[in-house]
């Protein structure tokens, strides 16, 4: 397998009071193989969106990526790039889809203008050729009557159609990686399923690697090859999707699963995780989940590293040393 993206000890910081800086993303590492889908799962505020923005140096000021962080796209050291060289990988190597298609499209430009400018930013072709490609892209993302839609403005399209346009924009420069940041969160449930289908379809057809960022475990199953669960700026558990669903090991992951309503089986009270995610400026010392963790014990006062739980399964919890799974647990 070829690694297309490797993120190493990524730290994103923002200024806090009195010249201090805090890190909403604090030492995140993962890699993405060609054609693979990795799901980055976590609650809002856990740092997953900032992680995705960092991949193309899109962190809004005054945030910045701390030195010591590493992002490699194949042979390219992304964090060493500036100006024109940086511009050339944006959209070309990684395409991005964002959460809210209502505000992610510019209201004053037509769909055609917004897709073709992405194409023309990377390929030396004529406007007419770019328009043809835009037309094909709209067809590919399942927009009926694409010729008419090209002339439309965002406000004339439904939420689902806008998100399809966003996907077309993300694909316009034929990137090898697609980053989808909560691509269905702002959409109606029926539309969600359609958009996910489009994404699955494209991934299969184009062989793209996908980084799927979501808070919704429901859309991860059967879609992602691997899952990384984030909490408080760190990855707390990482495993192949079947393994994670079969044996969630980190108490936070277990809490996430327990708080998902089940349709089958007897009616039960939901078990929400008590408390809420701490603010990035006040991560707890030791294990960051400790204040909310039902299984916290004395060792939790020391911050655990990612420890192996089983083959291709790691978690950031000292319990890993006691509960190493054997085969399938």
């Amino acid at each position: 397998m070829t690694t297309v993206l490797e993120v190493n000890n990524l730290r994103v910081s923002f200024p806090g009071p009195a010249h201090s800086r805090f890190c909403p993303v604090d030492g995140v590492s993962f890699s993405l193989q060609r054609g693979e889908t990795l799901a980055l799962v976590g609650e809002s505020g856990c740092g997953k969106s900032l992680t995705s923005l960092a991949l193309l140096q899109l962190i809004p000021a005054p945030g910045r990526i701390e030195s010591g962080s590493g992002i490699r796209l194949g042979d390219t050291d992304v964090l060493a790039l500036k100006g024109e060289a940086l511009r050339r990988i944006r959209g070309r190597r990684i395409g991005m889809i964002f959460q809210d298609p209502m505000t992610s499209l510019n209201p004053v430009f037509t769909v055609e203008a917004q897709i073709t400018e992405g194409i023309l930013a990377h390929f030396r072709i004529s406007k007419a050729e770019a328009r043809d490609r835009a037309l094909q892209l709209l067809q590919e993302v399942g927009i009926p009557d694409p010729g008419e839609r090209l002339k439309a403005y965002p406000h004339q399209l439904s939420g689902g159609m806008r998100q399809r346009v966003m996907i077309a924009i993300a694909l316009s420069a034929e990137p090898e990686i697609l980053v989808a940041d909560e691509p269905t969160t702002a959409l109606d449930v029926t539309v969600q399923a359609q958009i996910l289908e489009v994404l699955d379809d494209l991934r299969a057809r184009r062989g793209m690697a996908v980084l799927l960022i979501t808070h919704d475990l429901g859309i991860v199953a059967g879609r992602a090859d691997r899952v990384a669960v984030m909490y408080a700026g760190q990855i707390v558990e990482e495993a192949s999707t079947p393994r994670l669903f079969a044996s969630p090991s980190h108490p936070y992951t277990q809490g996430l699963f327990a708080s998902v309503p089940r349709i089958t089986g007897p009616l039960q009270r939901l078990n929400p995780i008590r408390g809420s995610v701490p603010a990035a400026s006040a991560w707890p010392t030791g294990c960051r989940f400790r204040p909310r963790c039902p299984k916290a014990f004395d060792r939790s006062e020391v911050e655990p590293p990612l420890l192996p739980v089983g083959p291709d399964h790691r978690m950031r919890c000292w319990l890993a040393e006691q509960t190493k799974e054997t085969g399938h647990g």
């Binding site: 923005l53 193309l56 809004p60 024109e84 990988i89 992610s104 499209l105 209201p107």
Partner: protein, 323 residues
Amino acid sequence: MRSWLLLRLIQAVIAFVVALALLFVLMRAAPGDPLSRLSADRPVSRQEIEALRARYGLDQPVGTQLIAFVSGLLHGDLGVSIEHGRPVTSLLAERLPATILLGGSVLLLNFTIGLWLGVRQAVRRGQREDRWLTTLSLTGYAMPSFWLGLVLAWLVGVEWRLLPAAGMQDPLLEADAGFLSRAGDVLRHLILPVVTLSIVSIAATMRYQRAAMLEVLRLPYMVTARAKGLAEHDVTWRHGWRNALFPVITLFGLWLPILVSGSVFVETVFAWPGLGALAAAAVGSRDYPLLMGASLLVAALVVAGGLITDVAYALLDPRVRLG
């Protein structure tokens, strides 16, 4: 779109007519009248004043006067100035070019430099340049234009003798001077009044544009534009500024009347032969016809400013145009 435009035009006409009626009635409701000062410094008999009153139609009821004024207006006749004894239209036409030149230059500088600086500031928010420009613009905004005008006239015009401090033309310029040297002369006279007015107004425009641009810079479509691989210049100006322009269009509509109203203070300080000073004098002398003519010009531009704002919005924002 076409029916909307027609409706908007009708609205504009109604607004103008209402303004006209109000101006006309309020002017006459204000204490004093054009002839009351006549007897102040010379012996004028009651009969003579009554005769003049009848001549200017001031003895008629206000409604009758208004009808007479409107029927004149429809024929392009604004009456005769009581103070100057000449047709109001020719007085206005004489003074209008100087005011349009002054106001137009201010508008032009305002909505080029002001917008550009505002966008620059927003993009560099919190950096040294932004802080400096903020300080400068607040200082500029805080300076009264008549005071700034006096200081500039004294410093640049009198002490340093760099630029003419009064008038619009050099009285010593030879009569057969060519067009270029005439234009250059007017330009030199134009600099100080324009700078005086612009410093204050650019400061306001900058603040406005900065705030509007900051709003836009936070929006997700800016991230989309950058993530596509667009150059930073295109992200800022094409995607950002296009959207941050809307609030500023409103500001432009509000500034438009300066084209004809000029600035009383600045025109007075620099002896600029514009409408502002003429209108100010007409207020003092209760010169109804002249005051009415000048006010109507301003009212027309106020209404036009609103109309232009709305049309510009519609042209630039597809949500208004097609929504």
